[in-house]
Each structure stands twice: as C-alpha cells, then as structure tokens.
Symmetry: C2
Subunit: 269 residues, 2 copies
C-alpha cells in the first residue's frame, strides 16, 4: 500500500513543490518529516508541480518507502497525519491521510483538478493580502466581476488551450477539457474557480490575466472564444503572478481510493 | 501641522511598533519611508506600543520633522499616503492620511481603542491562519462561542482590570472603562472585539485566555465578574499568544481631527 496525503501549504515560503537541491521546497519538507516519522527514506510523489509562490489547499501526494513500490506501517492514517503535522513547519499542513493501493499514482490517476485565482476587489495596499491575492490597479466593482464570470464561461468545454500556455514545457497535446469556470465575489475578493481534466503550463494564470482584461472592459467577454480559437499565446492576456493561485483539490475515481485491505471485500464482509 | 496616518501592518514581520536599534520594527520602516519622501529626518509617534507579532488594521501615528513640533509640506494627504506606500514593504500599508494641528498627540488624544483577538473554530493545522489566529486544542462550536460572548459581556464597564495585567509596566492606576466586548462567529473564526478607553499590559490577550476557559466550559461565564473582582493576575486565564491580536482602530474627538486650516473657519467659509 501507499499513503495518500491531502496537503495545504503557504507557497510564499517555498520555491514550489518540486525538489531543488538546497532550496526551500514543499517536497523537501515532506521527505524530511516522513523520514523522521518512519525512520527510513521515503519517496513523496506529488499530483503536479506547483510554481514558486503558488499555494495549495488540497495538494495530493503519495508516500512510499524509497526504492519500494509501497510502505509498511502499523500507524493509522489519522496518526500519520497528526505525526507528520508536528514534524512540518507552520507553512505546511497534512489535512488528511488515507491508504491506497501500491498502483495508485497521484498524478496519473487524477480525473480533475480545481484551481482558484484570488483578485482583491480594492486596489488599496493590504498587508494581509500581500502574497495571497492579486491587487488590481482599479477597483473591481460588481459589473467587473460579472464581466469576468461571463468571460470565464467561455473556457468551459474541450478546447485546444495553447493560447493559454507559456513556453517552458514539452507538452504536444494542448487539448484539455474545462468542466466548470466562474468568478464570484466573496469577502472582498473576486474568486476565479476553474476545474478541468488537466492544465497547461501557467494556464490558470494566463486565464486570470485574460479575465482581468474582460473585467477592466478592455475586451468583451465573448472575445475569449476568439482568443481560444486563435491558438496563439499573444492573443491572450498577461500571465498574472503566482502568489494569488491556489490548487484547491484533486479528484480521483472512487474505486482508486478504496483502502487496499477493503478492495474486493464483499460489502459487510 | 502634523500628518496623522492610519496604518495597517502584518506584525509577523516585526518585533513590534516601537523602535529597537538594528531590529525590524514598524516605526523604523515608517521613519525610513518618511525621510525618503520628505528629504529630512522625521519623528513618527505612535498611538501605543504593540508587542512583537501583534497586527494592526488601524494603528494611528503622527509625522513631524525631527526636533520640530510639526511639518511643512505641499503634498496633499492622499499623495503622502500613496508616496509612503511605495516606500514601505508589503507588510506595512498607510490606509489614509490627514492633517491635524501641531498639538495633536496620537496617544494622549485617543478616547478609545478597539482590539480584536481571532480564534480559529477548528483545531486543525492551517498554514493560512498560522501567525494570524489562535488555533484551539478542541473545536469551538456554536455553544462555545455563545459562552465566550456571554463571558465577554462581564468585561463591560469601569473596573479595576489588574487581574488582566502582566507585570512589566509601571502603571499605577489600573482602572479602565470597557465600552463594549463581544465574541461573534465569522468565516471559520470566533472574533473577540473589545473597545475601551485604555488597556493594561497584555490585557486583551489575558481577557482572550479567560474567554477561552469559558468557551471550553472550564469556568461559567459569570465567573468573569469574580475574576475581575479578585484584582489578582492568577485568577484570570492564560496570556494567549500575540499573533492573533489586532489593533483595529483608535478614536479621537471629532474637533481634534479638524485640519489646521479649517479650524475656526465658519461653515461654508
């Protein structure tokens, strides 16, 4: 079996999830905490890379013994979560743990991911939103938020999203399906929430930059259709900064989440 | 005239407001920014000291030229606020600026101050509340919040608050008036808000520790009356940590806030 963890982290403290020697990364903290708990080196495998500064509310990762396909432990998932938390800095929290089969892969088994991009409504400087939300140059009023949400609606569906991909990855197939996308006002923020079966490099941040142009009335919302159709990065808006982006959660097929001991057991057995 | 500033800051980045040589303090940032803007040394005088880690949403401070009773500038208050903001780190923001008379003192002219202490409702580790709210050991449910608010009600009035004062100040007169005090649930937090004409050393943090005992049903809410009456620090609860405390705002008499040019002018003149 493997241990599947749901992790939240404040990305301000890290250069991203992925390991970089001698740099602060989330995976390095996870490796250190897991080794300290289990007493041997572990492999912590994430559902995706996240760029420096990007936050997570529900990042998913598996833990196995280094060089093995799984891990043996007598600890319950609840104890593992609590024991990792006391070994992790304040900036990283294990929100839950579960056992999954050896074959589970947090990246390849994912059926969808949900991201959020937070825009402050007010252009005013706010120390408590610094590094956590994008501060616009002009106030985003109710009309702006409605325009942004209307524009977001045009992302939904199966499209070639290459207009919303920065260079820096060797992805060939740029077709993805966005299941839902909208912008809603909440607690002084405009919250862009998007769920899809996969995301290209910087895709959500470029979508956010394009929505901001709609909110600022620089483009009509339905131009998003043309921008997508252009399959040309220069047609879309700016890549907004990473610190307002949150990986909210990852969905897996229900049958992949069955604990290994339970798989195949008759109900009630 | 002097410049009166309303300032927000994330206290995590500082060892408090008050100047300490070679240490990160809010006043040192303000002095540096003001000198850079005006081209001469300034005195920035605060409405209070705040301890290391304590946050502010509406800290008040005046700016005058060092060694003088006021300051001369042709900049408008709006320009001063904007120009200071670009010279301050992300962790400090000038929310507004106004001109007041030379005689104005941000501490001695204050008629009341309002503080908030934030309790997370959930005991779960949360990287986004770290350093910003107190995480309780057990969940604070609706009943706990009601007990806390009932207990807070007993703070209201003119009392000797020496039960809620830690040693470390040379204050003799420990009588203060609390105008309002309550605890309300908001966005996953229990928010203790207290307004008074003055606060003793660590008073709000000790009040918060006492409210937590009521919330955890360790004491009935009306015991707060006895605890206050005891005038004995050991009767009250623990001093909760500084990082969940926010100075929300300071009130001044309306006639002290009249810009010097306007004072005495007939209405419409």
């Amino acid at each position: 079996m493997k241990i599947l963890l749901k992790i939240a982290y404040d990305g301000s403290a890290f250069l991203g999830w992925q390991y970089q020697p001698d740099r602060p990364t989330v995976v390095a903290e996870m490796n250190r905490a897991a080794k300290d708990l289990f007493g041997f080196d572990c492999d912590v495998t994430g559902c995706s890379r996240t760029d420096a500064g990007v936050h997570a509310l529900g990042f998913c990762a598996t833990v196995s013994e280094r060089g093995k396909i799984g891990i043996e432990t007598r600890l319950s998932p609840e104890r593992i979560a609590a024991a990792l938390n006391v070994r992790l800095p304040d900036t990283v929290a294990v929100r839950s743990a579960a056992f999954v089969s050896d074959g589970f892969h947090p990246r390849y088994d994912a059926v969808s991911k949900t991201y959020r991009y937070l825009f402050a409504l007010s252009p005013e400087k706010d120390p408590f939103l610094a590094g956590r939300a994008y501060i616009p140059r002009r106030r985003l009023d109710g009309k702006a938020v409605r325009l942004m949400s209307e524009a977001a609606g045009y992302f939904v569906g199966e499209h070639d999203f290459s207009s919303y991909m920065n260079s820096g990855s060797d992805i060939r197939d740029t077709v993805r399906t966005v299941f839902s996308a909208d912008v809603a006002e909440k607690d002084g923020l405009a919250v862009f929430t998007v769920t899809g079966n996969g995301f290209l490099y910087n895709m959500v941040r470029i979508m956010a930059g394009t929505l901001l142009e709609a909110g600022m009335s620089k483009i009509p919302p339905r131009d998003v259709e043309k921008i997508t159709g252009a399959r040309d990065r220069s047609a879309a808006g700016k890549t907004l900064p990473p610190y307002a982006l949150y990986l909210v959660g990852v969905d897996y097929p229900a049958d992949r989440l069955i604990p290994p001991d339970e798989a195949g057991k008759p109900i009630g057995g």
